[in-house]
Symmetry: C2
């Protein structure tokens, strides 16, 4: 079954009721295009009725498609020889990458031929193209990159992961609203608790940006469950459901967490590969250790959401495999199906109304 | 043997050749004063010839001293009933804490009756008192809090951990100089590699502060081995020996790393306490697991250095035990014995000279 593209349409809504079409940048990521095609095949089994636009080098994609029975039937291939490399500056990618697989995936969302785009390519280029081609949602000044992280309690939404290295208080407020909507819409948390990342929990802690952001959230008039400032260890403790920070701190924090996890994993591997008793211990504890590995498997958390862009764009880790890419595709599908962007627009609207009429608490905004 | 205090002296050098005297805030920390006295006893066995000023509630300290044979002989107790509580604001501690155990420990350093002060109390109060009583070293605008972290390679010096939430490029340059001196003087690394923490390694990445700091370090004229920007995962990878960042990012990063370590440790405990096979696996791998626990034991890394203060002050984690407090005492002793502050003064001097004569590269500055 071939997908009929609705080229020329300027609508940004889902192409047709029930038919979820996701545009995939087949050339982004270390193991592309094989990882992308295999990931699409995995995601298909879990996403009833989903179809894919596979954008990239057709000669390389076609034989990969043939490895998965039935996949070709839900895929339309769009050929382009151009791809954005990992080290291309965003500004250069914008100017010279108009025919790149990444850009064509985003164009497909703009033109209504796809409901979402997923790419494992250059993050900066993907964000720049998303902002220029799709623009920001009404009321959003700065789209942010959000991810879901494992914690001791339930998963935690963490943003911004690096889209905005300089943020003011208003940006952090908008991140809080978008993160809250995501936690409700996609994670299904009824009343997510929101925290602003800081160097201490007391009100006077931190710089003027976080203190002003805290006041803006409290005075927003939105029915947000604001828990106050949280510290770095609260992220992994799961003290709140959404942690808001600027893109500089968020990017560093995420990579420090990944690095610490890697430090532990390496040391643990050493223990279980040393001597007969280490190897025997591994065999005995294998079930539990595999459960632990599964629990923290980065592939299960893969897919950073570009919240605030007028269209669904998800960035996969460049080094992931098919399983990780499938997770990113499913994340994109969730964003579309839960109407996340429509909900963000509604919240931003409520925020603007409350600003115009301070003191009026629009409890019906939700 | 009683220590003879040289009260009234205004010298800030070591009290007398060979006689290292360290002032201990006996009332700071969750388990004070027992943890402080027991920590002093442990440190004494490793610090030949060291003596201690134990400052706090004498009625509580005296019976604790009696538990350690020979300890009383190297201890002078200074009684005070006042202590700074954990939630006292720094400004309040400054005004109302003039007779607190924390303040008297710092006063002892100012007066030359001790070469260093160690406290497990309120960090903000300790830094505020250190800056007001001891002042900053010549050439240092902002003292910073530095710590040594485990990595996949050798230990890494990380600063600032929270003394300065707002930093400009000049501050980061000074942190780099102080961190470099610490790595050379105390860790014994001949030519430490210095990195500035950022969201990417490319030169154009990050905000204007880190980019300007990078230029300042390159143009400093100091023989610093500057490795450029590093990312969060480089800290635990040990890609460089000193990682420089502002106090906001550094504080969050440290607590994220601690939280991630705790997340893993908890999950691992679960594996080894589940079922007979989990418990048997633990017994088999116990040696390796204990080695791992030892390697990452936070008590072995305890003691944050207040670099840039004109006097040696070390902050112990408030929740540590005697072993951790002993590590902090030994850290203070190292700072004194390696002449760290004198070396920082020399570097800052070189920096100022190179500023006055740009283009002249003072290769002899070290």
């Amino acid at each position: 079954m071939a997908v009929t593209p609705t080229a020329g349409s300027t609508a940004r809504t889902a192409p047709a009721s029930g038919s979820l079409i996701i545009a995939l940048d087949a050339m982004g990521g270390d193991e592309a295009p094989a990882m992308v095609v295999d990931g699409a095949a995995m995601a298909r089994t879990r996403l009833q009725g989903a179809r894919f636009l596979l954008i990239g080098d057709e000669a390389r994609i076609r034989p990969l498609l043939a490895r998965h029975a039935g996949l070709a039937a839900v895929v339309e291939t769009i050929h382009t020889a151009d791809a954005v490399s990992g080290d291309t500056k965003p500004s250069v990618a914008l100017r010279q990458g108009r025919n790149s697989s990444m850009r064509l995936a985003i164009d497909a969302v703009r033109d209504g031929r796809a409901s979402a785009a997923v790419s494992a390519g250059n993050t900066g280029a993907l964000m720049a193209m998303s902002k220029v081609v799709l623009r920001a949602l009404p009321g959003v000044d700065r789209p942010a990159i959000a991810s879901v992280l494992p914690s001791k309690r339930r998963p935690v939404v963490f943003l911004d992961l690096g889209a905005n290295v300089d943020c003011d208080a208003e940006h952090l407020l908008q991140f809080a609203v978008m993160g809250e909507v995501y936690a409700r819409a996609v994670l299904g948390i009824e009343k997510p608790r929101i925290g602003i990342l800081n160097v201490g929990t007391e009100e006077m802690k931190g710089d003027s940006v976080v203190r002003e952001a805290a006041a803006l959230i409290r005075d927003s008039g939105l029915p947000i469950d604001y828990a106050g400032f949280v510290e770095g260890n609260d992220v992994t403790a799961g003290s709140v459901d959404v942690v808001v920070t600027d893109g500089f701190t968020g990017n560093v924090a995420l990579k420090i967490a990944e690095g610490t996890a890697s430090l532990f994993t390496d040391a643990l591997k050493q223990v279980f590969s040393t001597g007969l008793s280490g190897k025997a211990a591994y065999l005995l504890a294998r079930g539990g250790l595999q459960g632990l590995r599964h629990k923290f498997d980065p592939r299960r958390y893969n897919g950073a959401m570009f919240l605030g862009v007028a269209g669904v764009v998800v960035k996969s880790h460049g080094g992931t495999d098919a399983l990780g890419f499938a997770t990113a595709i499913e994340g994109a599908a969730d964003l579309v199906r839960r109407g996340t962007n429509e909900r963000i627009i509604a919240e931003m609207n409520g925020l603007a109304q409350n600003k115009r009429a301070p003191g009026v608490r629009d409890a019906a905004a939700r």
